[in-house]
């Protein structure tokens, strides 16, 4: 009996410790975010650094984003046609592909790819800098590591993400067109005109961009924070990278639900 009590106590202690630890980290992350925003002024002064980060997280993610976008579009075209032609409305294929890409798949899948391609790399970079005490060395030389290392990476991600999402959606629509019009033979004019008739720039394209901007900020913040907060060992860095990908994916999907529910509610 007492042994059971001891086990229960241990379990509860562990749950409590974990919870407190999470809340602690959340608070630390918020403070980190504030500090990051306050010290972002240097990014404008040294835009060279920012450029390098846009190159690192944007240009290097280009291939995976374009290829995935194309394949997502191809699949949407095939599946969409399969379902729509049962109801005799294959002309609506363009609408279906464009709306599902612009509203949901474009921002979400691009952000997930971005988190695993660029987010993990950012975490690894900053984590290794911390492990090899480069951040400490910067501090010793009176160079603020948050302004010099963290802020450019954060803003580079924030800038790249909407651009990548737009490319993903455009590529996906091209893929859907390739399957629907070129391969299956849906009417070209009907494909584009039905798409244009039901996709509104402000409501669909713009909201998708806003979404991807928010995802970009969330993923970049998680990536730089996990890197900065990593335990300075080889194991700690690997844990931090894992946490970046897992937390980013969860954050993206949860944020997507919240954003969708007040962006696209009520109006068809």
């Amino acid at each position: 009996m007492t042994r059971l009590a001891v086990v229960f106590a241990a379990v509860f202690r562990r749950i409590g410790r974990e919870t407190i630890d999470r809340v602690w980290r959340l608070g630390y992350a918020s403070r980190f975010f504030l500090a990051l925003l306050c010290r972002s002024g240097a990014v404008c002064a040294r835009h060279r650094l920012l450029f390098r980060e846009v190159w690192f997280s944007g240009v290097l993610s280009l291939i995976i984003i374009l290829v995935s976008g194309l394949f997502v579009g191809l699949v949407l075209g095939l599946q969409g046609y399969e379902i729509l032609q049962r109801y005799g409305s294959a002309q609506a294929l363009g609408t279906m592909v464009a709306l599902s890409l612009l509203r949901e798949l474009g921002p979400v899948v691009a952000a997930l790819l971005f988190a695993s391609r660029a987010g993990s790399a950012i975490t690894a970079e900053i984590g290794l800098m911390k492990t090899t005490e480069q951040l400490k060395a910067m501090d010793m030389m009176a160079v603020d590591p948050v302004a010099r290392v963290v802020a450019p990476r954060f803003w580079g991600g924030v800038i790249s993400m909407p651009l990548l999402a737009a490319l993903f959606s455009a590529m996906g629509i091209f893929g859907g067109w390739l399957i629907g019009v070129v391969l299956i033979g849906v009417d070209d004019g009907a494909f584009w005109s039905s798409m244009q008739a039901s996709v509104d720039f402000r409501h669909d394209v713009w909201n998708g961009l806003v979404k991807s901007f928010i995802f970009g900020a969330a993923v970049s913040l998680i990536a730089v924070f996990e890197g900065y907060d990593a335990e300075p060992t080889a194991e700690g860095v690997s844990h931090a990278i894992t946490r970046t990908v897992v937390t980013s994916a969860l954050a993206i999907l949860a944020l997507d639900f919240v954003l969708t529910s007040f962006m696209f509610r009520g109006v068809s």
Partner: protein, 161 residues
């Protein structure tokens, strides 16, 4: 400051995204929302609006001329008050007829405007007097069945010749 290969790649990246955005803006979507400044408001009262929604299209001769701005229930006349925003480019006579139609058999509902012969035009804030409600399918079927039943009753009641 020197140019580098990195600048070229960032340039290509930004240019490609701009092209993608332009493609999304011009080829994929349309600015269907007519701006509020370019419209004038007309009110119309309907006995029944069916499933008409806010932002539903307003068409005349099949052409989109405006959008439904708001729908309210008037608890004094027990009617639906529909506010329509019509594009400034189009004028309609005072005795224009407003009715609610359905696009296709099961499509969305929209407001149709049929112009009358009046020489004065509707202005901002005017009201359309002549309206026709939406056709409610259940009512229609009910009427049809009722008339059928009445017919067969009349047949059996009439003396055989």
């Amino acid at each position: 400051m020197n140019r580098s290969a990195m600048d070229l790649w960032v340039g290509i990246f930004v240019a490609a995204s701009m092209v993608a955005l332009l493609f999304l803006a011009l080829k994929v979507s349309s600015f269907s929302g007519i701006r509020a400044e370019d419209t004038y408001r007309i009110a119309a009262r309907f006995d029944n609006i069916g499933a008409l929604k806010i932002k539903a299209p307003v068409r005349s001769a099949g052409v989109l001329v405006g959008r439904v701005a708001s729908i309210r229930f008037n608890d004094e006349t027990y009617e639906a008050e529909v506010e329509i925003r019509v594009d400034n480019r189009y004028r309609f006579p005072k005795d224009t007829f407003a009715s609610i139609y359905t696009a296709g058999l099961l499509g969305d509902q929209y407001v149709g405007l049929e112009p009358g012969g009046d020489e004065q035009y509707l202005a901002d804030g005017d009201q359309i007097v002549k309206t026709q409600s939406a056709v409610v399918l259940e009512k229609l079927i009910g009427q049809f069945l009722f008339s059928k039943a009445a017919e067969s009753q009349a047949d059996s009641a009439s003396p055989p010749r």
